[in-house]
């Protein structure tokens, strides 16, 4: 028997393991709960350290079928020290958790999809599906191909071209919806009601969401089995920040890290900021918004986990910020120029919000802060359209180059031989 099962967050009723995300009794969300005593002897620092560097090293705290064999080395992305970014932001002990290089599709969504598909197989689905703002679409399409599922992907019609192409290339059926993500998501709830498909973020959502915990497990392990003082997390549906908190709590429960009150900071784009608005106004509930931001991967106006994200942030002593589209672009450039990490718009949101949080004194320079970068800049290059002018081409002659060099204002310093 599995050491985990679905449990209603509100009324506590258990549902075993099945493709289901809401409690029929009280209509509240279901979550995977674990028998921690059953894994206490296996989930230890020593045993984990001997396993391959991917998310499957944390298998005991993931809802995986018993006979599950991973087909991809997902996750265990770098936790980079970021001294130059820290200096630019006015802080000191700063780390970047770089899921811009998560495999196989360069976003943190690879973590959640790989867990969801393990259960899709166990439940006998031959088709997997999702509503997506792009990164999830890419990941479901790629991992469906790898694991032999058919894939149906539902996206808002105005998505970035790269994210659409990066879904189609894997042979997935892409359905463009003339509407916002929130409308796509609502439609998918209705479709999931009618079709026996494994929707990773509808009927498989409790399992899927558990995959996000691996970001938290990795941060703690990569800090030497210590928890940071602060984490800054981009928020779309609000699930990631909630699951990083769950991961830290589980590590404390099982004795892998010392207890610590980590402050959780949520980052949004001002053009779609239902969660940060609620936090700033002291509200416990979300007022839905109509998104208008270049950070399309975060453009969810009615975040499903918004209520829980607000709770995590406020109970931890953290805060939530939001930044303009112009700040998003500047912050993408700043991260690239200081640390060599090219992130998508969501990462620009996170870096921009971190800057504000430091400036406003909500993040102290002496504390250890981890900034979560969740996606890759190559997918949202349109955000930088017009940011760089191409110089005129020069002839392949040394004299031409010397002339070009002397005309260039910033002459590079001579390198000593």
């Amino acid at each position: 028997m599995a050491h985990y099962e679905l449990r209603c967050r509100e009324c506590g009723k258990t549902w075993g393991n099945q493709p289901r995300s809401i409690c029929d009794d009280c209509f509240s969300p279901l979550e995977v709960s674990y028998d921690y005593d059953a894994v206490r002897g296996e989930f230890t620092r020593e045993k984990i350290s001997q396993r391959p560097p991917n998310i499957w090293r944390y298998s005991e705290l993931l809802p995986l079928p018993q006979d599950f064999q991973p087909t991809l080395p997902v996750g265990f992305t770098p936790l980079l020290t970021a001294p130059k970014l820290a200096k630019a932001l006015g802080t000191r002990k700063l780390f970047v958790k770089n899921d811009a290089v998560c495999l196989p599709t360069l976003s943190f969504k690879d973590r959640v999809v790989s867990v969801a598909l393990s259960q899709a197989r166990a439940f006998g689905f031959d088709t997997v599906s999702c509503s997506s703002t792009g990164n999830l679409a890419n990941s479901v399409a790629a991992q469906a191909a790898r694991n032999g599922f058919k894939a149906w992907i539902f996206i808002p019609a105005d998505l970035e071209a790269a994210k659409i192409l990066n879904t189609q290339v894997y042979g997935a059926k892409v359905v463009r919806i003339a509407g916002s993500y929130d409308q796509v998501n609502r439609l998918c709830s209705q479709i999931a009601d009618e079709h026996q498909w494994g929707f990773v973020n509808v009927n498989l959502r409790p399992y899927y969401a558990e995959g996000s915990k691996t970001v938290g497990f990795e941060i703690a392990e990569q800090l030497g089995w210590r928890l940071p003082d602060n984490v800054v997390v981009p928020m779309a549906g609000g699930s990631l920040i909630v699951k990083i908190k769950k991961a830290f709590d589980e590590l404390i429960t099982l004795g892998l890290v010392d207890p610590k009150q980590v402050k959780f900071f949520g980052a949004q784009a001002t053009g779609c900021s239902p969660i940060s608005t609620a936090v700033k106004n002291g509200n416990a509930e979300i007022e839905p918004q109509k998104p208008a931001t270049i950070a399309r991967s975060l453009a969810i106006g009615n975040p499903a986990d918004g209520h829980y994200a607000i709770k995590v942030i406020t109970k931890s002593g953290g805060w939530s910020e939001d930044v303009s589209d112009a700040e998003v672009v500047e912050s993408i450039q700043l991260l690239a120029e200081t640390e060599g990490v090219f992130t998508e718009t969501a990462g620009g949101v996170t870096v921009g919000c971190t800057r504000k949080l430091v400036r406003d004194g909500r993040i102290s320079p002496d504390e250890t802060t981890v900034v979560c970068i969740t996606g890759n800049g190559l997918k949202t290059t349109d955000a930088l359209a017009g940011a760089y002018e191409a110089d005129d081409a020069i002839a392949p002659k040394l004299a031409e180059f010397e002339r070009f060099l002397s005309n260039t204002l910033e002459v590079p310093e001579a390198v000593e031989a």
Binding site: R9, S21, I22, D24, D25, C26, F27, S28, P29, L30, E31, G179, D182, Q183, N185, R186, S189, Q190, D193, N201, V202, R205, P206, Y208, A209, G237, G238, S239, V242, K243, K245, K246, E285, E287, P288, K290, N302, A304, D305, H307, Y308, A309, K311, V312, K315
Partner: protein, 93 residues
């Protein structure tokens, strides 16, 4: 005047399997009263003890979230299609 309300599968065991209903409710409050009368078992699943719409229940009118239309004060128009859709969250505290 007539509107249509769609009931999601998750709630149909409280409606004897009925998934669609026509009625002449003028607003959300009246719609809930109609549902209460027809399906008494459904009531606690739609509203909490204080009578508020449950946190994880979203109401849509012709594809639009009713909160953008004024919420409970929105006056239904003839032919409106009302959707009751559970919010799919996966949170923890």
């Amino acid at each position: 005047m007539s509107i249509t309300v769609q009931i999601p599968t998750a709630l149909r065991r409280h409606t004897s399997g009925v998934g669609k209903l026509n009625c002449s409710a003028a607003n959300l409050g009246e719609l809930f009263s109609v549902l209460d009368e027809k399906f008494p078992e459904l009531k606690p699943h739609l509203r909490d003890e204080a009578g508020q719409v449950r946190r994880f229940l979203n109401v849509y009118v012709n594809e639009e979230d009713i909160r953008f239309l004024g919420g409970p004060s929105y006056a239904f128009q003839d032919g409106d299609e009302i959707l009751l859709v559970p919010s799919i969250a996966g949170g923890t505290e």
